[in-house]
Symmetry: C5
Subunit: 123 residues, 5 copies
Amino acid sequence: MEFWGVEVKPGEPLKVKPEVFRLIHISQAALGEIKDGKGPKCVPIHLKVGDKKYVIGTLSAEDRPQLMFDLVFEREFELSHDWKDGSIYFAGYIADDDSRYPFTLVYDMFTLITSSYSVLRIC
Amino acid sequence: MEFWGVEVKPGEPLKVKPEVFRLIHISQAALGEIKDGKGPKCVPIHLKVGDKKYVIGTLSAEDRPQLMFDLVFEREFELSHDWKDGSIYFAGYIADDDSRYPFTLVYDMFTLITSSYSVLRIC
Amino acid sequence: MEFWGVEVKPGEPLKVKPEVFRLIHISQAALGEIKDGKGPKCVPIHLKVGDKKYVIGTLSAEDRPQLMFDLVFEREFELSHDWKDGSIYFAGYIADDDSRYPFTLVYDMFTLITSSYSVLRIC
Amino acid sequence: MEFWGVEVKPGEPLKVKPEVFRLIHISQAALGEIKDGKGPKCVPIHLKVGDKKYVIGTLSAEDRPQLMFDLVFEREFELSHDWKDGSIYFAGYIADDDSRYPFTLVYDMFTLITSSYSVLRIC
Amino acid sequence: MEFWGVEVKPGEPLKVKPEVFRLIHISQAALGEIKDGKGPKCVPIHLKVGDKKYVIGTLSAEDRPQLMFDLVFEREFELSHDWKDGSIYFAGYIADDDSRYPFTLVYDMFTLITSSYSVLRIC
């Protein structure tokens, strides 16, 4: 596992594509720093996966400057938001795709057993 | 694992059925965008599993525009809500049913061992 | 894993007993629908395990109509609440008890190996 | 896994020591029942691990009567709080220490293999 | 797994580096005790990983004295905050890096098998 984080700037939707056999887990979104006194009241966060669009939450400088998620992506997705004056930071982590695990383990053991054939010298 | 998300439109309860040996994990619900100025104050979210009905939370445009869950479904369920003017988006992920795992692993190893019989040539 | 949910009616504490080698994971509690205008302000939720009593949270129609947990039960427990006019819905999931896993795996492998004795015909 | 819960009474810090190879996972803290009308406004929760002290959150009867954690302890820790008129209930679960798992599995397999030597009668 | 916690003092950014094959999981941040009556209104929390900077949340003495995370670090990171009058406590746990697991298991089994060669005396 490793840290994952992106900055989504105002008016710049960001496409993210996980590597093969890797999952991106988004844990949270947070408003960036407010520069000119007053922060935004209502910032919807948009997610696009394939041709489907979702609202996944709404940030607010006073009431909800950050927001937790428990979302997992194995394919390309696009993040965007409606705040014109600042960035939103998404963070989480990258993990191996567990659904590959049984196959990987068996494959590794097979490789090990056959490659260690001469070491074990069974019969 | 893979991303899962649905839009539940006003007045249209949505039935969802996980595939065999797959689990749907619902992580969150969020109000869709508010079109005509003022959002809803109190939107109960309903869940139906078999013949049993549950309230699993209440959304509110000002105070709780989104809501986290940690719910898992291995069989058909139905989602609905009481907001007349917009959609609610549910998101989460699909995972393999872990309870199958030990069986699967042993089965895979059995297959591997018997199929590699000639390679290993024990005795 | 499979969905788990119960309705706890007013004045009716509910005893729940997980099956052997199964765990009940409670993820949340939510106030049921409010019928006569105004919902309750302060509804403590009580948990009893063995002879010990705990308060695990307080619901409120306006501020906290639902509440997340991350609690696991391997033995009998009792849920109750102080709302006189409605039900509280608890939801979560049932999972296999992981602490059995290593034993189960080894046991399964032993069974597999001995039962496949004639197939492998070692010596 | 099994349920874990403690009551921390006013003015009585509580030391908790996990068993060997067992982890205590604290999922939440909740204010006990308020007896004389008005609950506390600000109750810091203190944690001591070794000689280090931490504040891990602040409860409040009106705004935050409960609070979620995701903390894990493999060694002794001490919980205390500043509420003079009531108890705080901590809850969560006890789990096996996963970091022992690979060793345990291999050890169990070794035991199994050597003890089943005569059953398998390899050569 | 084991408990992890740090105090980040005002004006003193803290660098943290996980050990090799170990992950630091940050679960929460909490304002330390408020000494002189009134706590801070808005304390952004900053995270630096490599040369990238993120805002991961905002604490507030009245509304959000603590905050949950689900962040994982396999490499050095730096935590800092904007509160001039007190410390912020971060807590969570340290875990083995799961992505090493399949390799470790296979490696352990290899070691076991070759070291137990004389015990098993296959042929």
